[in-house]
């Protein structure tokens, strides 16, 4: 308490040792009585008050800005999708056709090749995220947005896509076609 009181007196004397008229004039006129006091120079007093005010404003701005910035970042969406999903039924797809299915929050594409085999992969084009489709005339996967082509293993074979589509594992259980993410080895 005593130490706190002393500090307070220090601040108060620093604040009030200035000529009150100096505020209006915009210059710091010294109180003649303080000139001789050791350690109390006008520059230090001004600097002290400026630092106090400046850091106060800075702290206030941070206190306002930080919550705003955090508010702007959307909360992470829960990926409700499991690692496995029923993408469709064998009766849904004729050979040489494809369909989009829901894999969690993202679209996937299920293809039945001309030979009747099922393939599944992510339907999000690796170029700029459009949703791809199966072209029965080309017998491979195509993205309409920027003319990207992928083969039936999801490999990018023509156009701007920089990477292959993520391929999924397909398992046919009875009539149901189960699709699961490939576990990383």
């Amino acid at each position: 308490m005593v130490a706190g009181g002393r500090t307070f007196t220090g601040i108060a004397s620093a604040l009030f040792l200035r000529n009150p008229n100096s505020m209006e004039a915009g210059v710091s006129t010294l109180n003649p009585g303080t000139l001789g006091k050791p350690g109390v120079t006008p520059v230090r007093r001004r600097k002290f008050i400026e630092t106090l005010l400046g850091s106060g404003f800075l702290a206030t701005s941070i206190a306002f800005l930080y919550p705003v910035l955090r508010y702007l970042v959307p909360p992470r969406a829960l990926d409700l999708g499991n690692d496995s999903v029923v993408a469709g039924r064998t009766t849904d797809l004729k050979p040489n056709s494809g369909k989009i299915f829901r894999f969690g929050n993202r679209p996937g594409i299920l293809v039945r090749t001309a030979s009747g085999e099922f393939r599944a992969m992510s339907a999000t084009c690796t170029h700029l995220s459009c949703t791809v489709q199966y072209r029965d005339d080309l017998q491979h996967i195509w993205c309409a947005c920027h003319n990207g082509h992928y083969d039936l293993n999801g490999r990018n074979i023509a156009g701007p896509p920089p990477r292959p589509l993520e391929a999924f594992e397909v398992q046919v259980l009875g009539e149901e076609i189960h699709v699961r993410r490939r576990s990383e080895a």
Partner: protein, 361 residues
């Protein structure tokens, strides 16, 4: 009339109205064979006013959100009396405004109106042009149809390709990792609150600067007038130029009304995140030249992703474009020739790529 003048006296007594509008009375507009280009900025402003008014009307019925947006626009177009017209005017006026803003920018380039002391006028104008494109991009998503959905997906993904800041910026724009109803809500906020506020402020500064510096005369003509001051011709801004400008606005209104009534804006099919992008999908015409360029860049150039290169390229060009007035220091006339050359090339490139993009499969 007597009532009007007494009202005016009342205002003048209190606010010094006559003193306030004195500079406007003194304002003149140079008169020469290229004077017609001076109308473009004003027409853009007029279309912006139309956007604000029709936008407010649309707000009375529009509901943002993935489950309601499409239906509410459908409601406006089919149930609300003249709703189709209001929406059609809003869409057409947006497109015309983007066109006139681009035309205004190029006319300023060719007439060299950006030169000292008007650097800040150019800067505020360029930022306004970017804002106008932002209006176009954010407004396009609001009806929540398939084309808009994929355009937004691609557009925000492009933002995501920018090194370092791209990914967080994309998540900020989308309101998450993917384009969802959250994106629509954000875009709605940008479109009806953030962008209009910024645009109004900048238009104010832009007009104030135009008022402060007066209207630019092309350098060659200026030199001619300096040599022979007798040849110099000008007209009063108020009322001579203003009345001409109002006639231009009236013509613009006629064109707008005709387009909106004869070719009403389509609504399309409701967006579904779980369908493929339809064949033949393209962005709006004002993004087509960038779209077509990105389409032509191979997937890898010297080990770097094609898009990243394209996007950085467009970013650098946009920044250099913004700084055009600051390149004119020494050898002003030679720099100006360069700038004209680049502007001609840019205009040809944008026009050519837009047409190519329109007809390309």
């Amino acid at each position: 009339m007597a009532m009007f003048s007494s009202l005016r006296n009342w205002v003048d007594e209190r606010f010094g109205w006559n003193e306030l509008i004195a500079p406007l009375r003194k304002k003149t507009v140079p008169r020469h064979k290229l004077s017609y280009w001076y109308f473009l900025g004003g027409i853009t402003l007029f279309l912006f006013i139309i956007q604000v008014l029709t936008g407010i009307l649309l707000l009375l019925y529009y509901r943002p959100g993935a489950t309601e947006a499409f239906e509410s626009v459908q409601y406006i177009m089919t149930q609300v009396q003249f709703g189709w017209l209001v929406r059609s005017i809003h869409s057409w006026s947006a497109n015309l405004m983007i066109f006139t803003a681009f035309a205004h920018m190029f006319s300023v380039l060719f007439l060299k109106a950006y030169r000292k002391p008007r650097e800040l006028t150019w800067l505020t104008g360029m930022v306004l042009l970017f804002l106008v494109l932002g209006f176009g991009f954010s407004g396009y998503l609001l009806p929540w149809n398939t084309l808009a959905f994929f355009a937004t997906k691609v557009g925000t993904e492009i933002t995501g390709q920018v090194p370092l800041v791209g990914k967080p910026l994309m998540v900020f724009l989308r309101g998450g990792e993917d384009v969802t109803g959250a994106t629509l809500t954000r875009f709605f906020g940008f479109h009806v609150a953030v962008l209009p506020g910024l645009a109004t402020l900048l238009i104010g500064v832009h007009l104030l600067l135009v008022q402060r510096f007066g209207i630019s005369v092309p350098p060659r003509l200026q030199a001619e007038w300096m040599a022979k001051p007798a040849n110099q011709r000008e007209m009063k801004f108020f009322p001579n130029f203003l009345l001409r400008e109002l006639m231009a606005w009236y013509v613009a209104l006629g064109v707008l009304g005709a387009l909106a009534a004869i070719i009403p804006w389509d609504l399309g099919v409701k967006a579904d995140p779980f369908v493929s992008a339809p064949a033949g999908i393209k962005p709006e015409w004002y993004f087509l030249f960038m779209f077509q360029t990105l389409k032509l860049i191979p997937s890898k150039v010297a080990g770097i992703d094609g898009e990243v290169l394209g996007i950085l390229g467009f970013g650098v060009i946009a920044l250099l474009w913004l700084l055009i007035p600051f390149f004119e220091r020494d050898h002003a006339s030679r720099t100006r020739q360069w700038i004209t050359g680049i502007a001609v090339f840019a205009l040809a490139y944008i026009t050519g790529m837009t047409i190519y993009g329109h007809f390309a499969p």
